[in-house]
């Protein structure tokens, strides 16, 4: 029983980590290539969830909702890049933080204006609902599907960056943006594409998670904070770092919440152990981040 519980918790950690990866990949790509700190990344996650909920509600098809989430978030990302972000490349990070923070407020109130203050309904598609059982072990099918989709997207992203022309340009843009502009690459078009790609990943994560969480205004900000923790651990600008960091954070958080109270019970009375264990568990990923920064100040895969 305990081994099964541990296996289930490990899968939970993996699933949480892969969701974080979808968020963190866009964030780190945008920062690495364009040098922009995008606080509004969480809002694009929210846009994805709301678009999925609205379209799935209208058509009854979760798949169409997912497509709508990708399209809406990518489009929103492109619009934001062209109208706002483009003016911030030469400014310092403080101006970028200020402007993208303003975008959070605009997105939140805009969403409330469009959809109202009450959470929206978005359910897991019937095909993926319920749990799968293998012997004594059972696990929600939808969470397994999220793990699979997360891995597929991660693999696709690696191939895109490593094997395609656009990937070459993105990597070139990371190392020297003046030089690739001089080589005749339309840098502003490249930036719009990268931003829209990052936004689409966030919107995709929002739609996937929206089916098992609350689709409401402000849902993006808690995830945004975790995504920042992930890219700091992984090394800013590194997709590989984002992947390793996200899995680390996902496993640490999930297993910490589960194991710490149990460990504390060994030398404390149960109610004190629960309180101390859950308090420490909520700090665990920040402690992990601090440890990583002590030994590798640029993150696991970051370059100085």
């Amino acid at each position: 029983m305990t081994a099964l519980l541990l296996l289930e918790q490990t899968l939970n950690g993996l699933q949480f980590g892969l969701m974080l990866f979808l968020m963190a990949a866009g964030l780190t790509l945008i920062f690495g290539v364009m040098g922009i700190i995008n606080l509004a990344h969480g809002s694009l996650y929210m846009v994805g969830a709301f678009a999925a909920a609205a379209v799935a509600g209208l058509t009854g098809s979760f798949l169409l909702g997912l497509v709508a989430a990708l399209a809406a978030a990518a489009m929103m990302g492109a619009i934001v890049e062209i109208t706002v972000i483009r003016r911030l490349y030469d400014r310092d990070h403080l101006d970028q933080v200020l402007a993208t923070f303003a975008l959070i407020l605009i997105f939140s109130e805009g969403t409330r204006w469009l959809f109202g203050s009450f959470p929206l309904y978005l359910d897991v598609p019937a095909m993926l609902s319920g749990a799968v059982s293998i012997g004594a072990f059972s696990y929600p099918l939808y969470r397994l599907a999220i793990i699979v989709m997360g891995l597929v997207v991660a693999a696709g992203l690696f191939l895109l960056i490593a094997r395609t022309r656009i990937g070459i340009r993105i990597r070139a843009g990371e190392s020297d943006r003046e030089m690739i502009a001089a080589l005749g690459v339309d840098i502003s078009k490249l930036y719009t594409i990268v931003f829209a790609l990052g936004a689409a990943l966030a919107g995709f994560a929002g739609a996937l998670v929206g089916a098992i969480q609350s689709v409401e205004v402000g849902m993006g900000e808690p995830v945004l904070i975790l995504a920042f923790v992930v890219i700091v651990i992984g090394g800013i600008g590194s997709i590989k770092g984002a992947f390793v960091g996200a899995i680390l954070v996902g496993l640490t958080d999930t297993l910490g919440r589960f194991l710490l109270p149990i460990i504390f019970t060994a030398f404390m009375d149960p109610s004190a152990a629960t309180a101390a264990g859950s308090a420490l568990a909520s700090m665990l990923i920040y402690i992990l981040m601090a440890m990583v920064l002590i030994f590798r100040p640029t993150g696991l895969y970051g370059s100085a």
């Binding site: 319920g130 409401e216 919440r257």
Partner: protein, 378 residues
């Protein structure tokens, strides 16, 4: 000419005194934007419905948004008290905000009518003659749920709540009356959205019932994930995770869940059916228990206005204490600490046509009063 202006001045001053003598100004601070705005909007709409239905034009309501932030609530309270000079304050949803605003407001001679939050501090040592709670003390729904659990064969319970004062209060309230065994007690992070780790523990636990308090979005997330997990245990909780605004977002995943509340839209008492239909007509949605509380708060205020003038503080306070109004929850009176004495119902989530909603299955506690009135010297 002189006579004319003299006359005008007399008329004006008469008008002014008439306004001061009969009118009443209400300051409402509630959550209208940000997370949890649905609750504040429901309280406001319920309150304004009763005011509009009364046909009185001498009640002025000034509404401020606190965005669920204590510092904004305090600023809004200062503005309402000093600049607007309101007579009565109301509206706050969250316990931590109520603790920041209500004691200061009553200390400055204002009345405060709580349409939602009921922190234990204000029911016990911190009680005040001008503070009236028209909703519930935080522990009440949980105490009633424990009584119902004792009577209905619940033996082993898995408890879960966010790790913050209201969460701990709710669990303490349940444990105060529950006679069975508590197998696990889990406190989660406030605002947590993924409950996979906790659900795995539930699967491994030998409890027969899950009892949880997770207000707002947290409850939506948990219920959706629990429904997909295949864990087969009874689910119970206070009504805050199964309210009308939330059920729409959870959908059928919530069907069959038992939850405690003082009100339900199918409660058969005079005035309730009219309240439900007029609320639906005015706002195009079913009322929630927050809307019912807002409505009752306004009815209480109006009943006191019939009996006394707010400028006569002692008479107005006595009129409020009588609670001489037809509450949409039926029986309603104030205990010695100005907190409600009322029945707590057990409801079940059901589907009516296309709408997921609650229906009453029984009374969990009769004439329930809070556990703190002994500490109140009033």
């Amino acid at each position: 000419m002189k006579l004319k202006s003299l006359m005008a001045a007399v008329c004006l001053s008469a008008l002014a005194t008439a306004g001061a003598a009969e009118g009443l100004k209400v300051g409402m601070i509630t959550t209208l934007s940000g997370g949890g705005a649905g609750l504040g909007i429901d309280v406001r709409d319920g309150f304004m419905l009763a005011i509009n239905q009364s046909g009185r034009d001498d009640v002025e309501v000034v509404i401020e948004d606190d965005q669920r932030k204590p510092e904004l609530a305090v600023q809004a309270a200062d503005k309402l008290i000093q600049a607007e000079n309101v007579d009565v304050m109301t509206g706050i949803i969250w316990s931590n905000l109520a603790l920041a605003v209500a004691p200061a407001a009553v200390a400055q001679g204002k009345f405060y009518l709580s349409p939602n939050a009921g922190p234990s501090q204000l029911a016990g040592k911190g009680c005040h003659p001008n503070y009236f709670n028209v909703s519930w003390q935080n522990d009440a729904f949980n105490e009633a749920a424990a009584m119902w659990a004792n009577d209905n064969g619940v033996e082993k319970v898995f408890l879960m709540a966010p790790n913050y004062p209201a969460g701990q209060d709710m669990i303490a309230g349940f444990k105060r009356f529950f006679e069975g065994e508590v197998t696990e007690e889990v406190y989660t992070k406030l605002g947590q959205t993924d409950y996979a780790a906790e659900i795995a523990q539930m699967r491994a636990s030998d409890a027969d019932t899950i009892y949880f308090f997770l207000p707002g979005g947290m409850g939506i997330s948990f219920m959706k994930q629990f429904a997909g997990s295949g864990v087969d245990k009874t689910v119970m909780g206070p009504a805050f995770s199964f309210d009308q605004g939330i059920l729409g977002a959870i959908g059928e995943a919530a069907l069959g869940v038992k939850n405690t509340a003082h009100w339900s839209k199918d409660l058969d008492v005079p005035g309730n059916a009219e309240f439900v239909s007029s609320f639906q007509e005015a706002y195009g949605r079913l009322p929630s228990l927050y809307a019912a509380q807002g409505y009752d708060t306004a009815l209480l205020l109006l009943s006191a206005m019939e009996k006394a003038d707010v400028s006569d503080t002692d008479a107005f306070r006595a009129a409020l204490k009588e609670a001489d109004f037809q509450s949409v929850r039926g029986k309603f009176s104030f205990g010695s600490n100005n907190h409600p004495v009322q029945d707590i119902l057990m409801r079940e989530v059901v589907k009516e046509g296309d709408v997921v909603t609650n229906r009453i299955v029984g009374v969990a506690a009769t004439d329930h009063t809070d556990a703190y009135f002994g500490d109140c010297n009033m």
